[in-house]
Symmetry: C2
Subunit: 425 residues, 2 copies
C-alpha cells in the first residue's frame, strides 16, 4: 500500500479506505486494492484542477450536477472564519482530486473522517467554488470580524427587483459553496463534508441541488421551458472576454482574479407554460424553440437582428421578448457568464394565478439561475432590472431566493481561498 | 425527411421537430437534420424495450435517475381511466424510444404536443413503470369504477409499521409512475408529459426524484449512509429466481406477469449518522463499510455467517443489525428485489432528537426505497415488520410516505398496460 496517506492530486479516494483498515483489517485492504482496479475502468475519471489563479466552477465547462449551499456564520472571531476557509480549501482540493475530505485517521472509535458515499467513485470533474456574502463584512449593522472596511463596493446589497418573492429560508448567506460534478452524489457529498467541517463555525442556511441534461459536447442544453439556454454567453475560451466580463481586475484589491456570483432559484410555472401555444412561447423567448435561432434567423449561432421588422412594421423579435431584453446591444454592452442548472424539488402546493385557476400540487421546479461577472452593478443588476419589469417570461417565472457572493481568486497549494482578505485586513 | 411521423422504436426524438416545422419552417428542418447528426454522437443512445411480457423498470439494470409520481384519480367513469392508461401506454412507448410523448400536430396555434426539453437528447434507457394503488379499486368505501371485486388479495392496505411517520401529502395514490433514465431531465420530462395527458382524469399527488451514483458496471452502489446497498438482491439474470420472488404467477389473474411495488421515501438523519463512530456504523449495518462484506467476512460476495460468534460468544453479526434482520434465512426465505434511489430535497427544519439537540436546517435527504415482489405479504411486509421494530438503523431513518402499487404485466403493441383489468371486469 505504497500510496498510504498520499495527498497528491490524482490519487484515488483511498484516504478513507486506508484509514478504515485499522478496523476492517483484511477486508479494507482487499477493498482498497479492488477499488484501485475498479477506478481505472470508471466513467467520470477526469478531474478538474483545484489550485490556480482562478477558482474552478466559473469558466469550467458546466458539469451535469450542482449542489449549491449558503451558510450563516456563527463564529465570533475572524480567526475562526479564516481557519474554516483554510480547512474548506484543503478539503475541497482533496475531494476535487478524488480523495476523502480530510486525511483519514479512522480507527473505529471516532466517526469516520468522510461519510464514504463516494468511495470507489471517480472525481467526476468536481469543482468547489467559495463565495462571500455581504454578511461576512457587515451583519445587522455589526462589523463582526473587522472586515467592514474591506467590503468591495461591487458586493452590493442586491436591490429588490420587480416581482421578487424571496423567501428568507432560501435567501442570503454569509458564505456560499457551489459544488459541481458530473455525478449528483459527488456534488452532494462535497457539501456534506464541508458542512460537517464547519461545525460550530457556520451553519447551513439554504441549499439547492440542480442538474443539466446530458447533451453531446458543443450542444447548448435545453432548460425546463424546452428552450436552449446559454446561447448568448461570452466565449469562455476567449481570455480577453473573460478579463473584460468575468474576472475582477486591479480595481478589486483582494478580489483580483475573482468573480461575483449571483445565484437565484427561479421557479417556473411549468403547467402554465405548457398550456401556451408554440408561437406565443417563441415570441416570449424571441427564439425558435426547435433550433434555438433568434426569430427571423435560421441557426442558433446566427447573429440576432434586433432591428428586423415584418411587413407590418412590427419588430420580428418582440419588444418585451427575453432575448431582446438581455441583448448586450441594448444593455450598454453588458455581458454575464450564465452557468445555470435546472432544479426539481418534487411538488408543492400552488394556487394558480392563471386559467383554469386550479389549486393543488404542482411541479416545484425551475432554474437555479447562476451567473458570474466582474461587477454585478454593470452585469446582472444592469440587465435584470429591465428584465424584471418587462420580460414576457415573467408571467411564468418567479425569483424565490438567492443572493450575491464575492468569489475570491483561486489559491496556490498551501494557501487558502480568501486568504488575502483575512490576512491583510 | 423520410422519417417524418415515424413511430418505429429507435427513431430519434423528431416528432416534435417535424411538427414544429410548420411554424419554424427552414429553421426547424435544419435543426432536425443537425439533431440527427448530433444524436449519432450522443451518450446515452441505448433504449430499453417498452413492449413485452413484463413492464420495464423492474428487472432492468438500475438507471442513474428516477422520477417517481403518484396520482389521485378524478375520473368518474371506468372508461376514462382505461382511456388514460391507453394514452399513457402509447406515450410511454414513444418516449422510451426517444420520441416526443405524442405524435406531434404542432402548428403554432396550439400548445406544443411535448414540452421539448428532451429534444436532441438520446433515450437514456428510459423506462416507465405503471402501478395501481388500492384507491383504484376502493376509495373511501366506494367502488368508483366497478373494479372492487378484482382487487388482488395481495394489494393489501399496508399496515402501520413501527416508527412510520407518513405524511399524507406524500403517501398513497390511486396510480403510480416510476420513470427511470440515465438522465434526470429525461425522467422528469416523462412524468411531466404523462401528468399533462392526465388532465381532468388524474391529478398528481406526490412525487420524488432520486439518483444513484455512477459506479462502474458490476459495482454495488453506495447510498447516502456510505454503505453498499443492494448486495442481497436475488439475481435478476436468473429467471427462476425472478419467477419465484418477483413476477406474479397464475395466482394473480389479470396481474399475471406483473409485480408489486413498494415505494417509500425514507429520510436519513445524515448529520446524526455522521457523528457515529465507524465501528458503531458497521455494527448497525452488520457489514464492513469499506468492502461491503458482512462482518466476519472479507469480500462483499462472501456468504453471510449468521451463526458466527466471537471469543466472548457474542454474535459477530449483531442481533439487531440491518443485514441480519433482512436475511432470507431468518425470514422464512423471503426475498424482495430492491431497486432504491437516493433522494436529496435540499434542506428542511429539524429539531434533533439526539445530541447535541440542535434545531435548524438540515439535509432533507435519504433513500427512496423501492422494491418489487410477487406478493408483498410474503415480501416487504414479512421482512419489514421485524425490521421496523428492531433494526438499529431505525435510529437514523424515518419512513415519511409512500405506498404499495400493483404493477400489471407488460403490454404488446396495440394493447395498454392494465388492459386485462379494465376490459375483463
Amino acid at each position: 500500500m505504497s500510496d498510504r496517506g498520499t495527498d497528491r492530486p490524482g490519487a484515488s479516494r483511498r484516504g478513507f479506505l486506508t484509514g478504515a483498515a485499522g478496523v476492517a483489517s483484511g477486508a479494507a485492504i482487499t477493498a482498497a486494492m479492488s477499488d484501485a482496479v475498479a477506478k481505472a475502468a470508471q466513467p467520470g475519471g477526469q478531474s478538474e484542477p483545484f489550485w490556480g489563479v482562478h477558482q474552478g466552477g466559473i469558466v469550467t465547462p458546466a458539469q451535469r450536477c450542482v449542489y449549491f449551499a449558503a451558510f450563516d456564520l456563527l463564529a465570533v472571531k475572524r480567526e475562526d472564519v479564516a481557519a474554516l476557509m483554510r480547512s474548506w480549501t484543503s478539503a475541497a482540493a482533496r475531494m476535487a482530486a478524488g480523495q476523502s475530505a480530510t486525511a483519514s485517521s479512522d480507527d473505529g472509535d471516532d466517526p469516520p473522517a468522510d461519510s464514504g458515499e463516494t468511495l470507489g467513485l471517480a472525481p467526476q470533474r468536481l469543482t468547489i467554488t467559495f463565495g462571500f456574502g455581504p454578511g461576512l463584512f457587515v451583519k445587522d449593522g455589526q462589523d463582526r470580524y473587522g472586515l467592514a472596511a474591506r467590503r468591495p463596493p461591487a458586493l452590493i446589497d442586491l436591490p429588490r427587483f420587480n416581482g421578487d418573492q424571496l423567501a428568507p429560508e432560501r435567501t442570503g448567506g454569509d458564505l456560499a459553496i457551489q459544488a459541481c460534478a458530473d455525478d449528483a452524489q459527488v456534488a452532494f457529498h462535497a457539501v456534506r463534508q464541508l458542512a460537517r467541517l464547519a461545525d460550530g463555525v457556520a451553519q447551513i442556511r439554504w441549499a439547492q441541488p440542480g442538474f443539466v441534461a446530458g447533451y453531446a459536447s458543443g450542444q447548448t442544453p435545453r432548460n425546463l421551458m424546452g428552450f436552449k439556454d446559454g446561447t448568448m454567453n461570452p466565449l469562455t475560451s476567449d481570455p480577453k472576454l473573460m478579463e473584460q466580463f468575468v474576472w475582477v481586475g486591479d480595481e478589486g484589491g483582494w478580489m483580483r482574479g475573482g468573480s461575483y456570483m449571483v445565484a437565484r432559484p427561479v421557479r417556473i410555472a411549468l403547467e402554465h407554460w405548457d398550456r401556451m401555444k408554440l408561437s406565443f412561447q417563441e415570441q416570449t423567448m424571441g427564439r425558435h424553440k426547435a433550433s434555438g435561432a433568434a426569430l427571423g434567423a435560421t441557426r442558433e449561432s446566427d447573429p440576432i437582428d434586433l432591428n428586423a421588422v415584418d411587413h407590418d412594421g412590427n419588430p420580428v423579435i418582440p419588444e418585451y421578448s427575453h432575448v431582446r431584453l438581455g441583448a448586450p446591444a441594448l444593455n450598454d454592452g453588458a455581458q454575464i457568464l450564465r452557468r445555470s442548472y435546472s432544479y426539481d424539488n418534487g411538488l408543492s402546493f400552488v394556487a394558480e394565478r392563471w386559467p383554469p385557476w386550479r389549486q393543488g400540487m404542482e411541479f416545484d421546479a425551475g432554474l437555479l439561475f447562476v451567473c458570474f461577472q466582474r461587477d454585478p452593478r454593470t452585469g446582472f443588476v444592469k440587465i435584470f432590472e429591465k428584465m424584471a419589469k418587462f420580460d414576457m417570461m415573467n408571467q411564468f417565472t418567479t425569483h424565490i431566493g438567492g443572493g450575491l457572493f464575492a468569489c475570491p481568486g483561486g489559491a496556490a497549494p498551501g494557501q487558502f481561498v480568501g486568504q488575502r482578505l483575512f490576512e491583510a485586513a
